[in-house]
């Protein structure tokens, strides 16, 4: 009897931790995985192979707080003729013909938004390279969030670059 109870206790103890690990996996899968996108757009092709500048598509990155998702018209400037036989480009053309925006899924998000203000324009003016926060996009077929975007991460970079670290710089 004692043997059975101890065996059950051992099973219960280890099973609890196995379940906790799998729950962590579930949380990761829901919140942190690179999101699927309506069109399999590849930064690896456009940035890595074709060497397009970031600001060619994300036109407002140096002018606004938001980098901006490129309009479909920007894609169609080239894809009206390039690779039109590809099923992914045909999806793009359909959005263009239907005059609908592409419903991209957001990749980067500050999760705890205690009145956090972030400006792309400021950072580009300070000569921070896009890949410093967004990672090696030239090698990403599917974009994922590379940096944590947590406050400690922001502050350590501000300190390293002698940028101001007053609370009110970011928290408005």
């Amino acid at each position: 009897m004692a043997k059975r109870i101890i065996s059950a206790a051992i099973f219960g103890y280890f099973a609890l931790f196995a379940v906790l690990v799998l729950l962590l996996g579930f949380r990761w899968n829901v919140h942190r995985k690179a999101p699927d996108q309506p069109i399999a757009f590849s930064h690896e092709v456009h940035v890595g192979k074709l060497n397009l500048e970031c600001m060619f598509c994300h036109q407002t990155a140096d002018k606004s707080t938001f980098a901006g998702v490129p309009p479909v018209s920007r894609c169609m400037e080239c894809h009206v003729a390039v690779k039109t036989e590809s099923p992914e480009i045909q999806k793009l053309t359909k959005y263009w013909n239907d005059k609908e925006p592409i419903p991209w899924n957001r990749v980067h998000r500050i999760r705890i938004r205690n009145h956090v203000y972030f400006s792309h324009k400021r950072h580009i003016k300070a000569d921070i390279k896009c890949e410093q926060c967004h990672g090696q996009l030239a090698a990403m077929a599917q974009v994922r969030q590379v940096s944590s975007l947590k406050m400690g991460w922001c502050v350590s970079c501000h300190e390293a670059n002698q940028a101001p670290t007053d609370c009110t710089i970011c928290h408005k």
């Binding site: 931790f17 074709l50 080239c78 003729a81 690779k83 090696q136």
Partner: protein, 448 residues
């Protein structure tokens, strides 16, 4: 490292896969040995100290058996303990070539510590016979060897764990910043508890199962060894899932994919099987379950090593892709050189072939497509300036999207430039002027 890099860089995808395999092999052989040495030395020191205090000859006998089994020969110390360490920096050096700030130098830093600790542990083993006369020397050597080994592996395991977190690399300016991190502390605590649990399995397997005849001579001693080993193993087994869960919880998100979580759950599952084996050994009347527990520990090391390598690969997959692209580019350049030589030999035109394969996607000679009609823009260029433009295009005419880099090699670019200019000359030499065929909406002064 630079010398080595110049000869094997850029490594290909197959090269990287081979490095990963080598990494798993090293972790499978080297880390269990280190864990055995670490745990056995600590347990033997505790047994010697207890014997010194309460004079229990069975404690001293077990301490002696443990030291002589695990710290057996200098050859095994060298082959299992020291040599694999020299391979690790080369593996990681290849993996992180061109990655600024990767904490690989700390891996190198841990090597002298491990060498020193093995030398001291060999002296510790040698001084066991004189432990009564020179108790403090014996214990001092043990403490020094064990301390150096633990410190070195704290540094080594921490730097390997920090490879999963590229975001923080630029902050790792000194050793304290490397080590003061919950993730590496949980990992090290997991390793230390694993070391003690492995020592339990080592006692059951090597002292009872492996040399059964020796143990059976003295039945009382065999029962003591079995209960001590199984009890030690079982107690430390319970700590394993706690520390592993904290380690997984504090690992950065970039290091994960679904497989990582399955591997982590498998580590916990195998730890449960080991706990059952120890529990069985505790209750059995004879030496059993030692081999099972020991084999399952090797499996834990394989699973935990695979978790770490996969985490590193996930966190640095773009860097690996950049290296792979460099290897691909080099291979393509070699192929183009070969093609050029073959084309020259067979009279084919490389420029025409490349134009029809690459440039034709956006350009025609007499028609505006994505880019302007070539007949309108080519007259601005000569062979040299055109080659330079093809290799590094820039936006010229606001009416057109900027030309992306077509990714041609210098040989291809020169051949295309020559072909385009030649073709234009043959066109303008004909009856129709190219301007009349272009669209009237074209800008008067052709740019691009």
């Amino acid at each position: 490292m630079d010398f080595l890099n110049q000869h094997v860089i850029p490594p290909t995808a197959q090269h990287m896969a081979l490095l990963e395999f080598l990494g798993v092999v090293i972790y499978t052989i080297h880390l269990p040995y280190i864990a055995m040495v670490m745990g056995s030395t600590a347990v033997a020191m505790w047994l010697t100290f207890s014997d010194h205090e309460i004079s229990n000859p069975r404690f001293a006998r077990l301490a002696g058996d443990l030291i002589h089994t695990v710290l057996g020969s200098r050859i095994s110390m060298l082959v299992l303990g020291v040599l694999p360490l020299f391979v690790l920096p080369f593996i990681y050096g290849q993996w992180f070539v061109g990655a600024p700030g990767a904490p690989i130098k700390y891996i190198v830093l841990s090597i002298p510590g491990v060498v020193v600790s093995f030398v001291v542990l060999a002296l510790y083993k040698g001084s066991f016979a004189e432990r009564k006369a020179k108790f403090h020397l014996h214990m001092g050597l043990g403490t020094l060897g064990l301390g150096a080994l633990m410190a070195s592996y704290f540094v080594l395991l921490s730097s390997v764990a920090r490879l999963h977190d590229p975001e923080k690399w630029f902050r790792l300016k000194n050793l304290a910043l490397l080590l003061l991190n919950w993730n590496v502390i949980w990992k090290f605590l997991f390793f230390v508890h694993l070391a003690f649990a492995v020592t339990g399995a080592t006692i059951l397997f090597f002292l009872l199962r492996w040399s059964r005849e020796r143990a059976l001579v003295d039945v009382d001693y065999a029962v003591f060894v079995r209960k001590f080993g199984a009890g030690l193993g079982l107690a430390f087994c319970f700590a394993l899932p706690v520390f592993y869960l904290f380690y997984v919880f504090t690992s950065p998100d970039v290091a994960f994919d679904s497989t990582n979580y399955l591997l982590a759950a498998a580590v916990v599952f195998v730890a449960m099987l080991i706990a059952y084996a120890f529990f069985g050994a505790l209750r059995a009347r004879e030496a059993r379950f030692g081999a099972t527990a020991f084999t399952l520990f090797i499996l834990i090391f394989v699973l935990a090593g695979s978790f770490d390598l996969r985490a590193m690969a996930n966190a640095n997959r773009e860097h690996a892709r950049v290296i792979e692209q460099a290897a691909e580019k080099e291979r393509l350049e070699r192929e183009v050189e070969l093609e050029t030589a073959m084309a020259a030999a067979s009279g084919k035109n490389l420029g025409e072939e490349t134009f029809n394969k690459v440039c034709i996607q956006c350009h025609r000679f007499d028609e505006k497509l994505v880019g302007p009609a070539l007949a309108t823009v080519l007259p601005k260029y000569n062979a040299e300036t055109l080659k330079a433009f093809i290799l590094s295009p820039a936006k010229v005419d606001p009416a057109f999207p900027p030309m992306p880099n077509p990714g041609l090699t210098p040989t291809q670019a020169a051949a295309v430039a020559a072909y385009e200019l030649e073709h234009l000359a043959s066109m303008t030499g004909g009856a129709t002027a190219p301007e009349t065929q272009t669209t009237p909406a074209e800008p008067a002064a052709p740019t691009h």
